[in-house]
């Protein structure tokens, strides 16, 4: 049981989320799971943000919309998320726990409660307007739905362009057009605020030398995302705009609006190197003979799996990377080809011709984000992003207002998502006393028992305005449906999903004593939950409805063949009716939850995660394998951002130790684990080998990583050679002020980006900058050389790189085929390095050689992974359930991870991720009980012969062999843990005896549908 502190009366159990991109969506979903009501305010007409515009995501090449749209749908149908679109927050007053927010809502001119999103108005509207969603490459109408998966799926009238001709009103059969709609201001009370307003793309036309806006074939990277997309402007063909040619030679120019102090954008946008690489790779799926060149300054592949992706881009996909920032792009007026003028690394000037040029535009904040900061009284950095504290990266300058995503600095999707999840934990602290007080729940009448009842199927065939009815002869489908066995009622509706039809449906169910429902309309992916809801309101189990998709799968694709479309609709209906005949009620199992958590690892990640959980009011047990809290931070003295790391660590440990909700167990390791989400039973072992069993609802792995011990460059053999960490102490002790230290050489990528550790360790470039800057501050006369492969000071860390250059630090780049070498002459050390500009070797005197040693996964990760039954990647780091949208989750429910156990990261990133893992744990342990999935697997024990084929098939380890106490293992039987089963059906597909069945998709149900599908009928 949780022990929550006394509830102050005025704390609100709801949170305001500003911005409906992936960050806002994710934080909203997690807040609800943690017991808070959410108001999600979005300034455009639908949620989805930038991610909805992207084609694929790096480094897995997942389809962006495919992974986003389930989240859109969940958000849209969540009772406890109020989505307010076309809206902006104007003012927030009050204090943490109790804010009042004024939200200005622009009129939509469409009644959201009546509009079904059928799109007929859009088709008829005569006014064309540039589409922001498609980045101006195509036009939309003055009444529009931004994209087909939009949530809310409701049309919006763009008042600036609408001429008020009433065409839409004329064609809308749902009577949803509402020209009298007015602007309104809503005031809401919330306990905390989370800002996820995202970013704007840099306006490429400001870089005049690249010709954007003047030359047809110069596009921005986000426009190119749309072009790559199958639902984009060119239907997924890569074509160039001047004449529709399939381009042969494409160039990307990086850092357009990034790393450019001349245009006031000195910072690095962090994501462009990877997205350009992804775009180049994806292009090859469209154009097989394309030749691609990416003009880079430095390749900044700092994330998990990024370096490997970059290597594959070069080796497998043959993408050419050229180290140069082009000076100019010119157009051949005749061919519309583009000439890029650039300086090669050896200083020679080259002009090269391309068919198409993509400008990799940076991330910036714009008017809307700045206005938000202004309205809410937030401090912005000099770069125009929300100011945060390095050790409190999710908090803005105003207490109780949190930030996630690119508003506080350029971020990729996983960093945005981790921050967004983490912000939910932070908001939860402020609102903890009012947890579960503002959640709405629907009341349903008791469920009618239909066992032994003959199926009485009610069928509802939808016109969808004219979307279905214009092609499919709906009345004839209704007549046909009436002839099918067990159908006792069939009718047609203008819109089956409209509120009034839903009410009528509930009435019809009762009047006709229906016990199965078949709806023939659109896709069950968006609409099934709605009809399930109606069934529950009519006292039926929600599993008793089946849908036939006669819109997307029929009327929309057979528009030109109404006869056959009608026949096909009948086929689809017959199949759905066949299945509905076989439907049985399904219910989920309630799993009681132990409302406490276990955190493995007492470093920065583990302590921060433990604190967030504890401050949300739940018990945490924190176990640390050594006898000291602090982890890697114990060896760190400072960073670019923090002057005194030990002071931070001290206060962190102090806070953890004095928190009554945290139990600290030092010199303790995890020994074994049983149980599952909500009810784990970890056994821990102390240094004496004594074991103790705990009982927790969730587990967080925060076991950190280790610094690589260099085996090269005379490390360990010469005390003038040391690592950056070791050197930090020496600088503080005044090492670079002594006379015989005149020249210091730093070598980057020691134990990173090589055969043993193919990934980039992310932190070393920034660490080198911190040390180089400090040396120069201490003694400007010391020569500092940084020998690097790419300088990877991503994001605002670019400022430290700029500082170092201004202070006179010399940077020399080397390639892996020309590694630096250490020479010793007359007792003095020299570093020999190949200089690409001079095309010759330099011998740099080195009184100190500082190695930027990389970060390696802990050796005991494998052991922990085995105990927890979670995966690790090739490099030994733990592997997340999904690299983009589930960055702190394991595939195993209830187990999360954060910090360097995930991959090398900066401290601020670790802290944000720790909050994310805490928030995820809170979504489990803030509940008294969890509900299992309904469509789970179940074993027919009369048939199961215990062959065990199903056990390894299960990706969730949900199946065990059940053996009677003291019984013979050979006579065991498969047993499914409903708490773990996700209902994929892999076991049912593998079962040789037919004992394993997936509820809702039983063999009988599937066969009956196939039977109906193949039935020869005279229609």
């Amino acid at each position: 049981m949780s022990e929550q502190v006394g509830k102050p009366k005025n704390v609100k159990g709801s949170v305001l989320v500003v911005g409906g991109g992936i960050g806002g969506i994710q934080t909203s979903l997690d807040l609800v799971q943690a017991g808070f009501h959410v108001t999600l305010v979005e300034k455009t007409s639908s949620i989805g943000g930038t991610m909805a515009q992207l084609d694929k995501t790096f480094p897995t090449n997942d389809c962006s919309m495919c992974i986003l749209s389930p989240k859109l749908v969940s958000c849209g149908r969540e009772l406890n998320i109020d989505i307010i679109t076309n809206a902006e927050v104007e003012h927030i007053s009050g204090r943490p726990g109790n804010f009042k927010a004024d939200i200005k809502v622009a009129p939509r001119y469409v009644d959201q409660s009546l509009c079904t999103g059928c799109g007929t108005c859009v088709e008829y509207c005569p006014i064309y307007v540039e589409s922001k969603f498609n980045e101006g490459l195509v036009e939309r109408k003055a009444v529009y739905i931004e994209f087909p998966q939009a949530i809310p799926l409701v049309a919006t009238i763009d008042r600036d362009n609408c001429i008020g001709c009433q065409m839409c009103e004329n064609v809308c059969l749902a009577k949803a057009i509402k020209y009298s709609d007015e602007r309104e201001t809503r005031s809401i009370d919330v306990g905390a605020v989370i800002l996820c307003p995202g970013f704007e793309e840099f306006d490429a036309s400001a870089k005049k030398e690249y010709g954007y806006g003047r030359y047809d074939n110069v596009l921005t990277s986000i426009q190119y995302e749309r072009i790559l997309n199958a639902s984009g402007p060119y239907g997924g063909h890569v074509l160039r705009p001047s004449d529709g040619m399939i381009p042969k030679k494409i160039a990307w120019i990086q850092c357009v609006g990034s790393r450019d102090p001349h245009i006031d954008k000195p910072y690095c946008s962090g994501v462009c190197c990877m997205y350009a690489t992804k775009e180049a790779i994806m292009t090859q799926e469209h154009v097989t003979d394309v030749e691609e060149t990416i003009f880079i300054m430095d390749m900044r592949a700092v994330g998990k799996g990024f370096e490997q992706y970059y290597n594959r881009a070069q080796n497998e996909w043959g993408i050419r990377y050229v180290r140069s920032r082009p000076g100019e792009v010119m157009e051949d007026p005749k061919t519309k080809n583009l000439l890029i003028r650039y300086e090669a690394e050896d200083g020679s000037e080259i002009t090269e011709e391309f068919d198409m040029v993509i400008l990799s535009v940076g991330l910036q904040t714009d008017k809307s984000q700045r206005k938000l900061a202004d309205d809410l009284g937030l401090t912005l950095t000099e770069d125009g992003f929300a100011q945060t504290d390095y050790t409190n990266p999710l908090a803005t300058s105003r207490e109780g207002i949190y930030v996630a995503g690119a508003f506080s600095g350029p971020k990729d999707i996983p960093e945005t998502v981790a921050g967004a999840i983490g912000a939910a934990a932070k908001a939860g602290i402020d609102c903890a006393p009012a947890r579960n007080t503002s959640l709405k729940e629907r009341e349903y009448p008791p469920e009618k028992d239909i066992t032994n009842e003959e199926p009485r199927i009610g069928c509802f065939i939808c016109h969808c305005g004219i979307n279905i009815a214009n092609t499919v002869d709906v009345p004839s489908v209704v007549e046909y449906t009436k002839t099918l066995p067990n159908v006792v009622f069939a009718t047609n509706n203008l819109y089956t999903c409209s509120q009034d039809t839903q009410e009528a449906m509930a009435k019809v169910i009762k009047e006709n004593n229906l016990n199965r429902i078949m709806v023939a309309s659109c896709t069950p992916r968006t609409h099934l939950p709605l009809f399930q809801e109606t069934l529950r309101e009519a006292g039926l189990n929600p599993a008793l409805v089946e849908m036939a998709n006669i819109r997307e799968h029929c009327s929309w694709i057979h528009q030109k063949d109404p006869m056959n479309a009608t026949d096909k609709a009948k086929d689809l209906v017959r199949m759905a009716v066949a299945k509905s005949r076989m439907l049985t009620p399904l219910s989920s199992t309630k799993i009681p939850v132990v409302q406490s958590a276990l955190v493995l690892g007492g470093g920065a990640a583990g302590m921060n995660a433990a604190l967030d959980i504890a401050r949300n009011g739940y018990k945490v047990t924190l176990i640390e394998k050594t006898d000291q809290l602090g982890g890697n931070l114990q060896n760190a003295k400072y960073t670019n951002e923090i002057g005194d790391m030990q002071a931070y660590l001290k206060s962190l440990i102090f806070n953890v130790e004095r928190d009554k909700n945290i139990t600290i167990l030092k010199s303790t390791v995890l020994d074994s684990l049983t149980g599952s989400v909500g009810n784990f039973r970890p056994v821990v072992k102390d240094k004496d080998g004594k074991t103790t069993e705990y009982n927790v609802g969730s587990i967080i792995v925060a076991t950190g990583a280790t610094q690589h011990t260099p085996t090269e460059y005379n490390y360990g053999k010469d005390d003038r050679v040391m690592t950056q960490l070791e050197f930090e102490n020496r600088i503080i002790e005044g090492d670079c002020k002594i006379d015989d230290v005149k020249s210091i050489v730093m070598i980057q990528c020691v134990g990173s980006r090589d055969d043993n550790n193919p990934y980039c360790s992310r932190v070393c470039c920034s660490t080198a900058m911190a040390n180089a800057n400090l040396i120069k501050d201490e003694n400007p006369d010391v020569e500092v050389y940084v020998l690097y492969r790419d300088i990877r000071t991503y994001g605002f860390r670019e400022h430290y790189y700029n500082n170092a250059r201004e202070k006179g630090v010399t940077f020399v780049r080397w390639d892996p085929e020309n590694k630096p070498e250490i020479l010793e002459k007359d007792g003095k050390l020299f570093v020999k390095v190949h200089e690409p500009i001079l095309k010759g070797n330099l011998e740099i005197p080195a009184d100190r050689i500082i190695l930027s040693a990389g970060i390696e996964a802990n050796k005991d990760n494998e052991e922990i992974a085995q105990i927890l039954k979670v995966p690790t990647n090739d490099e030994g780091f733990f592997l997340e359930a999904h690299p983009k949208l589930r960055p702190v989750d394991f595939a195993t429910d209830g187990v999360f991870f954060c910090g360097m156990a995930y991959h090398p990261r900066m401290l601020d990133e670790t802290i944000a991720q720790a909050s994310a893992a805490a928030a995820k744990a809170l979504t489990v342990i803030s509940k008294k009980e969890l509900s299992s999935e309904t469509s789970i697997a179940t074993v027919n024990e009369d048939i199961c012969d215990g062959c065990r084929i199903c056990i390894p098939m299960c990706p969730y380890n949900a199946i065990t062999l059940k053996v009677e106490e003291g019984g013979d293992e050979q006579r065991g039987m498969a047993s499914v843990d409903p708490a773990l089963c996700k209902g994929c059906g892999a076991c049912a597909g593998a079962c040789p005896s037919g004992a394993m069945e997936q509820l809702g998709f039983t063999t009988e149900q599937i066969v009956s549908q196939i039977d109906a599908a193949l039935e020869e009928v005279a229609l």
């Binding site: 195509v138 609408c162 001709c165 009433q166 065409m167 004449d243 529709g244 040619m245």
Partner: protein, 259 residues
């Protein structure tokens, strides 16, 4: 040989006349035996407001060299506003006609109560005489095939339901108020309708080129005398809406044809 006997151009002119003014005036001409020059074809309608832009273009398509509409004077329409509507229609038709490469002077409207129909008819005839047969004015220079194609394309625009809706809505939007209570200025409306029909004309021009033979964007651009980037966006829009499909490739270009 043929040069010696120059063929005399006797323009075919259709005059739509209003029942209440010009038609009545025409009836007067008979009894007083005033001859017209040439052979005017008179079409009686109850009100000039009945005539659609498409009727005007159809008249040209069927062989007229010019179309004149004769209606009542300003504020004197027997049905209150029909003459003003006709005026807007004529402006619209002229706009489209010049887009299609013809002289807009081939269409005109003359409003005057009980005017002597003969005068405007004669004056209009003079203009058409000067222009020559349809498509053959110095500014036109179109082959008979081009005349046919261009008029057909222009009529696609007049028959477009969205264009029809906008044209039909003009009086309401510019003289009264739109649904939000605002009034559009005539200039705003003209700009909007002009950009709409320009766009539609281009779209139908592109479509007409790929009715039977698939073509690449550069080929269509030459045929339609439009910039290739414009043709490209039009083709993409048409393809998305299912009016055009790809049919094979030619080098690095897809070929497109009407679906």
């Amino acid at each position: 040989m043929a040069d010696t006997k120059r063929r005399v151009f006797n323009p075919k002119i259709v005059t739509y006349v209003c029942n209440w003014c010009s038609s009545a005036s025409g009836d007067l001409v008979g009894p007083i035996r005033t001859p017209y020059k040439g052979i005017p074809r008179i079409m009686r309608v109850l009100c000039t407001g009945r005539i659609q832009a498409d009727d005007i273009l159809a008249t040209l398509e069927m062989g007229a060299d010019g179309v004149l509409i004769a209606g009542c004077e300003f504020l004197e329409c027997n049905y209150r506003t029909g003459n003003m509507i006709a005026k807007k229609r004529v402006r619209f038709a002229k706009n489209l006609l010049s887009m299609a490469g013809f002289s807009p002077e081939r269409i005109d409207i003359s409003l005057g109560f009980l005017q002597l129909i003969r005068n405007p008819v004669d004056e209009f005839r003079k203009k058409i005489l000067k222009l020559g047969p349809l498509g053959q004015a110095p500014t036109e220079g179109l082959t008979p095939e081009q005349v046919r194609l261009n008029l057909a394309t222009a009529r696609k625009v007049t028959q477009d339901p969205q264009v029809g809706w906008l044209v039909g809505k003009e009086p309401m939007l510019t003289e009264k108020t739109n649904t939000y209570g605002d009034t559009l200025s005539e200039k705003e409306f003209d700009e909007m309708i002009a950009s709409t029909i320009t766009e539609k004309y281009k779209i139908h021009t592109v479509l007409s080129k790929i009715e039977k033979v698939p073509m690449t964007i550069p080929q269509i651009a030459v045929e339609a005398d439009l910039p290739s980037n414009k043709v490209f966006t039009i083709i993409q829009d048409l393809q998305r809406d299912g009016f055009v499909t790809e049919e094979g490739k030619s080098g690095r270009y897809y070929q497109y044809i009407q679906a």
